[in-house]
Amino acid sequence: MDLSYSPEYEAFRQDVRKFIETNRESAPRGEAMKSDRVQSWQKLLIEKGYTARTIPQEYGGHGGEPDIIKARIIGEEFARSQTPGGLGGQGISMLVPTLLELGTEEQKKRFIPPTLAGEMVWCQGYSEPNAGSDLASLRTSAILEGDEWIVNGSKIWTSTAHLADWIFCLVRTEPEAPKHQGISFLLFQMDTTGIEIRPLVDMTMARNFNEVFFSDVRVPKDQIVGKRGEGWFVANAILGHERDSLGDPNATLTRLNRLIELARQETMDGQRLIDNPVFRDRMMKIQARAMSLRFNDQRVLSSRINNTDSRLARMISKLQGTELRHDLEGLAIDIMGEIGLMYGRSDYLTDNGSWQQQYMYFLGLIIGGGTSQIQKNIISERGLGMPKEPKFEQKAEA
């Protein structure tokens, strides 16, 4: 066990800190996606190699060598100083790696630089109302007519649809093929005729997601990544990355500290709730779990650096992280009692109602990005080597 970083990395950490101290005044403060401030901050970070580190310069990246530790240090320092890091979003986190791996040279040159620069914003069109856990059963169709795909169908959970310039989208192009082999991966503009966006209200009452409907949307033939019918494999080349970020234990620990503060402040019948032994016990249970997950993450990072196996440790993190966070938020509500019901403008609203909001939001995350049930299937099959359920579908389709 060696939790220290080498002097080279410690020096790197100091560089990052110095950069942040010197430049944090220029960082965005909640400006809109494509504002000048956002874009020039992004430009500066790419220049320094604090975002898009390993993406070649010819595609608008920094062109550095992959280095997991440096990436972690950057993440830690920006988080610690509460400074906005490089742009995220599904274009940068999902489409760019996909194009790097499977795009044509022309696609890379056309799409990656403006995406990295924050000039081209993307949304993701994967899930459909009838294709959730069973994503591969998606039905949005694209039929080739001459030089164009004609897209019809609908997508759901499209989080930035109303802000996006482009969409990367899974569509069924070979209806006769087995379900995983009939899908293609298309890119098209969101202002194309025939696209309708409807906001999707969720249980927190926010409108973070959308439904997107396509009627005879025309997409140029060459805006396909990979070959016809290979879209499932294109999408899966990077799909695993998404799950890791849900239920981050560092955020959970920060949140737990806030909860402890809350329990120190709130009282019932004049007694501080931090002194209630039943709540203390629940808090400590959660703290132990949160610490476990944080160390588990460190173990996963370490095994990536040292090329050792930590498959199971990685697989459990979404399942456990989201469940734990949901429990933590629920504990806060129980501690606050009726105060924990407040939701909307009132003098008694605590932390902007974030406890209620997060309690529900993390229930959503237990479901989203692969429900807990799907996660357990994956853990048992890929982690423990247990067999898949016998397939019925082939029988049914036969």
Partner: protein, 359 residues
């Protein structure tokens, strides 16, 4: 020997359910919530027509003199349909308080009006089950001063108020020195608020035994809230089974996956016995008062836990759809969430239960 709802009680539920299904379906509840309406008079008028406010009121005061189990049966329906209505305070808490602690004159004044559906009540009892933010109402010389938080059924004509001495009072909503603020909360089907009293003149209910009337009001209130959670939980389970039977993934209805089946089985296994607990607790109010406090505590605390489990599990069975507003499943989730915290959270009620039996 009959353990359970009588035929008459089942018929009562059928009537209430039928009315709510027709006149207060989810669309109506949505409208009420989204427009942040104060009173849903159409719904309340219908409930009045069914005689519900008269349920617990003696015949001599124009009521129909049924019992706590009948009222609980109604609350189960209200939970099942996430119904906005001042039933709890008006038909249960206020009549119970007035009957136990009111003078003959007060009974004559209020009970017939409640029974006839001419007036509604809210209830300011939260401080008696655990005061937050140092709230509290002090009574001196028939005047109230102080603050009551989380007043149930805030948009009402009168309020039942507990003071820091465990005495009960009645205050009309247009009394002098009364400031009423709505407190927006997660469950938009149940409007709550705060009331600030500034030398407000009140009508004190003179209980024989200080505190015991308040205790009884809280006990019956907790049972009603537990019944509401029971109804909401049953509805969430029913919707889950139905959704799972329709939703197809991997070429099967998801109801054929063992994981989904077991989640539904676990919900049923939690709900069924808690139904019997609730019935028994309601039964003790009228038939075995010595047992009622302990049973009311357990019914409220246990159904809070059952409700939280069902609320989470049913949402997960619905997958992404459960998280959206499209099916409106969250109305039940939030109803259960409200019920958990109001009139005492499960942890503090369990401690009460332990003390009630001398532990």
């Amino acid at each position: 020997m009959e353990f359970g709802l009588s035929e008459q009680q089942t018929a009562l539920q059928d009537n209430v359910n039928r009315f709510l299904q027709e006149k207060a379906p989810l669309e109506r509840v949505r409208q009420y919530s989204e427009e942040q309406q104060e009173r849903a008079d159409d719904i309340w008028d219908g409930l009045v027509e069914l005689g519900l406010p008269a349920l617990l009121i003696p015949e001599r005061h124009g009521g129909i003199e049924l019992g706590a189990l009948d009222a609980a049966a109604v609350c189960e329906c209200l939970g099942r349909h996430v119904t906005p209505s001042p039933f709890l305070s008006t038909a249960v808490l206020a009549p119970t308080a007035i009957l136990l602690a009111g003078s003959e004159e007060q009974q004559n004044q209020y009970l017939p009006e409640i029974a006839a559906g001419n007036t509604t009540f809210g209830a300011a009892l939260s401080e008696a089950t655990g005061a937050r933010r140092d709230a509290g109402v002090v009574a001196t010389n028939s005047k109230l001063n102080g603050k009551a938080l989380f007043v149930i059924d805030i948009y009402s004509d009168n309020y039942l108020v507990a003071d820091t001495n465990n005495r009960l009072h009645i205050v009309p909503s247009d009394a002098n020195g009364l400031t009423i603020n709505t407190l927006p909360q997660i469950d938009r089907t149940r409007p709550i608020g705060e009331i600030i009293f500034n030398n407000t003149p009140v009508d004190a209910l003179v209980a024989e035994d200080r505190g015991s009337a308040l205790r009884s009001v809280i006990d019956i209130g907790r049972i009603m809230i537990a019944a509401d959670t029971l109804g909401a939980s049953q509805e969430m389970l029913d919707q889950s089974v139905q959704y799972a039977m329709e939703r197809r993934q991997f070429n099967r209805v998801i109801a054929s996956f063992q994981a989904v089946k077991h989640m539904c089985a676990e919900m049923a296994a939690e709900i069924e016995p808690s139904r019997a607990l609730l019935w028994y607790a309601a039964h003790t109010i009228d038939e075995d008062p010595e047992e009622s406090h302990l049973n009311a505590c357990h019914a409220k605390a246990h159904l809070s836990e059952v409700g939280s489990f069902v609320g989470k599990t049913a949402t997960i069975v619905h997958g992404g759809m459960g998280f959206t507003d499209l099916l409106g499943l969250h109305y039940w989730f939030k109803r259960i969430g409200y019920n958990r915290q109001i009139l005492g959270g499960p942890e503090s009620i369990r401690e009460e239960a332990a003390r009630a039996q001398g532990l």
